[in-house]
Point group: C2
Chain length 452, copies 2
C-alpha cells in the first residue's frame, strides 16, 4: 500500500479552500428545469478544471452545455468521472432555514441547493486531484470529467451526446456522480439505476375559466378530465393499468434477492425520517420492502395544478389542468415504449383530450457486482471508513448510466459523500464536512490503485 | 305613470360623478377569500349610505362585517336591497389587460375586479336614490340596505346574522344584488338560486416531499390518494356517486320546463363565449341543456394543488395534496347533509385520510313567479329597456337568498346591470355604462311604483 500521509495532510490542511470553492459553485444557481444560470455554471466548472491543468471544453447540445475535461497521467489507464452541475428547483422556498443559493455552514454541515446533488461531488474529486498533484506533480492515470447540465431534467440530450463523442469519452471505468453512507455510516456501492419516463399530462377544454355556477353544470371540466384520466393509470392497489406496461420487466434474480437480503432493514428508518404512516401494498419491512423499492416499476404523480389554489373558496370551473407524472422503469423497459403505451391507453379510455408532453427519460442499467473495478472501489475505501462498503445491486433513483454501461461499455461504480439526511431534491439540502474529506481521501486512493 | 323627466335628466347629468364614486369603491380591494381590505371597504360603503341621509351601522359578525343602512320614506312600505362589498380573488393576474384594482374606462366599459359583482350594483342604486332625493326631497318608501362582505366565500355568517336581526331587516320585498341583460339585450328576471356546498379536500401522508425515486415505490402518495378519492365522487358519466346525494332533489315541474322552454337557446352563445368544445351528457342545446344548467345538482373541481407545478420536471413525491370542490344544490338539498354524506362515502371507500374542510354553503331557494312584486319589477323596466323582461325560474349560480325567502319571508326579485361579457369571477371583469344608467333609471321607477 503506498503512503498517503502527505496526501492526507494536504487534504486536512486545505479543507477551507475547497469548501470555499464549493460555496462559490453553490451560490451560482443552475436550475435546469427552469433554465436558470446554466451557462454561467458550466463556465465556472470549466475554469475549475483548467485551474488543475485539465483541458476543458464547453460543448453545446440542444439543451444545456456539457463540460468535458481531460488530463493525462502516468499510466495508460483512464478513469472517467461523471458529474452534473445542474440542480433541482429550490421550491418550496419557505421551508428553507437559510436561502438555497446562499451556502450556509452550521454544525459541521454546509447547506444549499445542489450542495449534495451534485456540486460537492465535483469539488471533492477536484480536491483529491489537487492533493495528488501536490504530492507527485502528476496524476497516476488519465482522468476525464464529463459534467452535464440536465441531470435533474432526465438528461434529455446526454445519450445523443455520448453516442456522438464515444472516442473522446473512451475510458476503462467510470465513477458515478453520487454515493455515500447509510444511516449506520456504512459506505454503499450502488450498481444499478432504474430508468425513468417523465411526462406532463395536460387538458384544456375552455378558452378561459368560467363561473362554476354556470360551467359546472354543462361544460367539460379540465380538472375532472385529468382526475379521471389519472385514475385509469393506477388504482389504490398500486398496479399500473396501462396495457403492456409490465411486458418487458426482467424479474430480479435469486442473487439480487440475496444481495438485498444482506442489507439492513429500512422500514423504521424511513418511518422516522419521512413521517411515513404506512407503506403501500401492506408491506411492513424486510427484504420484500427493499425489493419493492428498486425492482418494481412505478407511476408517481409529482405534481397537480388546476384552477384556484389560494386560501378560502373561489367558485370557478378551470379551463386547464395538468399533472407531472414520473414512471420509474426497470430492465428492460424503454421510456419511448412506455409513452406509446400510455398514449394508446388514454385514447382507448376516451381521453384523447389529455395531451402528453414527454419531458425526458432513460432506460435502467446495471453494472456486474463481480467487475474488478467494483472491487477496487470497495477495497480503496477500507482504510477511510469505519465500516466495509456494502453492495446494493440496484437503487430506486434514476440517472443516465445506460449510455455509459451500454454505449461506452464501462463498469460504473458509485462512491460519494451523501448521507441519509442530505435532503437532495428537498429544502435544506446539505452535506457533512467529515464525509467530504473522506470522499476526497477515498478518490485519491482509488486513482492510485486504479492506475496500477 | 308619474313624470320621470327630472329624474332622468339628473341621472344623465351626474353619470360622471357616480362612476367616479364606483371607481373609488373598486380601487379598494376587498377579497373575502383572502381576508384583504374588508373593513376598509365596509367603512366606505357606510360612508356612502350616510352621505344620502341613511343611518348606517357596521355590524360585526364572526367573519366580515355587515353594513346595514336605513332611511325612512313617504309610504309605509319597505324595500330591502341586498348587496355585497366583497369581491373574488383577482388571480390569474397576468390575464388582466389593466390591473384589477385600478379601474380603467375604455370604449364605454369600466374594468376592474368587483366592478360588476357587485360594486356597480351598490352605486347605481344609490345613484337612483340621489335622483329621487333631488327631485322630491324625500324617498317614496322606506329603503333598507344590507351589504355583506362574505358573498364570494359562500356568505358563511349571513344566515345567522339574518336570523338574529329579523326585526331590523323587516321589509315587504327585496331586490337582489345582481341582474342584467342577456346576449339579445333582454333584461332577465331570475327567481331562484341554486344552493352551494363548498369544501376543500386535503391529504397529507408524509412529513415532507421525498425524492420520487425512493418514495414513489413504497410510500403513500398524497396526490394519488386525492385523485383516487375524487374519482369516486363522480365518473365521466357525470353522475355523482355519493350515496344519498340525490335523495332530497325536488324535480322541476312542468311549469318550470315551460318557462325554460320560452327562453332562447344558449348553446351557440356558450360555444362562442367560452370556447366550449362540447357539452356534457351528449347535450347539444335546447330546453334539455337549459334544464341541466339549473335544475341538476353538480360536483365541480374548482382547483387542484400538489407537489411541483413549475416548468419542466421535478422528481418528487408530494407530501400533501388538496382540491377545492363545489357542489351546486337544488331544492331541497341541504349543505350540511351533503358534507355528512360525503364524509360517510369517503370513509366507506377507504379514504379516511382525506380531510374535509367545509368552506361554506347554503340551500337553494326560489320566489314565486306570480308574486305581485315580481310583476312590479318587470313592469317598471318596460320604458327603459328595448325588450320586455323575461322570467327565468331558476339559475345555476348560488347566493344566500334562502334566509331572505324562508326566514324573512320576502319575495326576492332580480334587476341589475350585468351583461353576458361582464366576466364576473374572471379576468377583465367589466360593466357597460349604458346599462349602469338604465339600471339607475329602473330602480328610481321601481321605488316610486312599489311605494304606491
Amino acid at each position: 500500500m503506498p503512503d498517503f500521509s502527505k496526501i492526507d495532510a494536504y487534504l486536512e490542511k486545505n479543507m477551507d479552500g475547497s469548501i470555499a470553492e464549493l460555496s462559490k459553485l453553490v451560490a451560482q444557481p443552475s436550475i435546469s428545469a427552469q433554465g436558470i444560470g446554466l451557462k454561467e455554471c458550466a463556465a465556472m466548472v470549466a475554469d475549475m478544471l483548467r485551474a488543475r491543468g485539465f483541458t476543458a471544453e464547453i460543448m453545446d447540445t440542444e439543451g444545456a452545455p456539457v463540460v468535458f475535461g481531460e488530463r493525462k497521467g502516468k499510466s495508460d489507464k483512464t478513469l472517467l468521472f461523471y458529474n452534473h452541475y445542474d440542480v433541482q428547483p429550490p421550491e418550496p422556498l419557505e421551508l428553507w432555514d437559510t436561502p438555497p443559493f446562499e451556502p450556509s455552514l452550521r454544525e459541521g454541515k454546509l447547506y444549499g441547493r445542489g450542495v449534495s446533488d451534485d456540486k460537492s461531488h465535483i469539488t471533492s474529486r477536484l480536491f483529491a486531484i489537487d492533493a495528488l498533484l501536490d504530492a507527485d506533480g502528476e496524476l497516476p492515470c488519465n482522468v476525464k470529467f464529463i459534467v452535464e447540465g440536465e441531470e435533474e431534467t432526465s438528461s434529455v440530450h446526454l445519450h445523443d451526446f455520448i453516442r456522438a463523442n464515444k472516442e473522446k469519452l473512451k475510458a476503462d471505468a467510470c465513477i458515478w456522480e453520487f454515493g455515500g453512507v447509510d444511516h449506520r455510516e456504512v459506505p454503499m456501492q450502488y450498481l444499478g439505476l432504474r430508468g425513468i419516463c417523465y411526462v406532463e399530462l395536460s387538458v384544456e377544454r375552455l378558452s378561459a375559466d368560467v363561473h362554476s355556477g354556470l360551467g359546472g353544470s354543462i361544460f367539460e371540466n379540465a380538472a375532472w378530465r385529468l382526475v379521471w384520466a389519472l385514475s385509469t393509470l393506477k388504482g389504490p392497489d398500486e398496479k399500473i393499468r396501462i396495457p403492456g406496461f409490465y411486458d418487458d420487466v426482467r424479474q430480479p434474480t435469486q442473487r439480487d434477492r440475496e444481495m438485498m437480503d444482506a442489507l439492513p432493514d429500512v422500514a423504521d428508518e424511513y418511518k422516522k425520517r419521512y413521517g411515513v404512516k404506512k407503506f403501500i401494498k401492506e408491506l411492513t419491512g424486510g427484504t420484500d420492502l427493499k425489493m419493492e423499492e428498486v425492482f418494481v416499476p412505478t407511476c408517481t404523480i409529482c405534481g397537480l395544478t388546476s384552477g384556484y389554489q389560494g386560501p378560502g373558496s373561489k367558485t370557478v370551473l378551470p379551463a386547464k389542468a395538468s399533472a407531472k407524472v414520473d414512471f420509474r422503469l426497470v430492465p428492460d423497459q424503454k421510456p419511448e415504449d412506455i409513452v406509446r403505451k400510455l398514449r394508446a391507453h388514454l385514447d382507448a379510455q376516451g381521453f384523447e383530450d389529455v395531451a402528453i408532453n414527454f419531458l425526458g427519460g432513460e432506460p435502467a442499467a446495471r453494472t456486474d457486482p463481480d467487475d474488478p473495478f467494483v472491487r477496487t472501489v470497495v477495497e480503496t475505501s477500507e482504510e477511510i471508513y469505519e465500516f466495509a462498503m456494502e453492495i446494493v445491486p440496484m437503487i430506486g433513483g434514476s440517472g443516465p448510466n445506460y449510455p455509459f454501461v451500454h454505449d461506452l461499455g464501462l463498469p460504473v461504480a458509485t462512491a460519494g459523500l451523501g448521507h441519509p439526511d442530505t435532503r437532495a431534491h428537498a429544502p435544506n439540502e446539505n452535506i457533512r464536512l467529515d464525509l467530504y474529506l473522506k470522499h476526497a481521501r477515498h478518490m485519491a486512493r482509488l486513482l492510485k490503485k486504479f492506475a496500477e
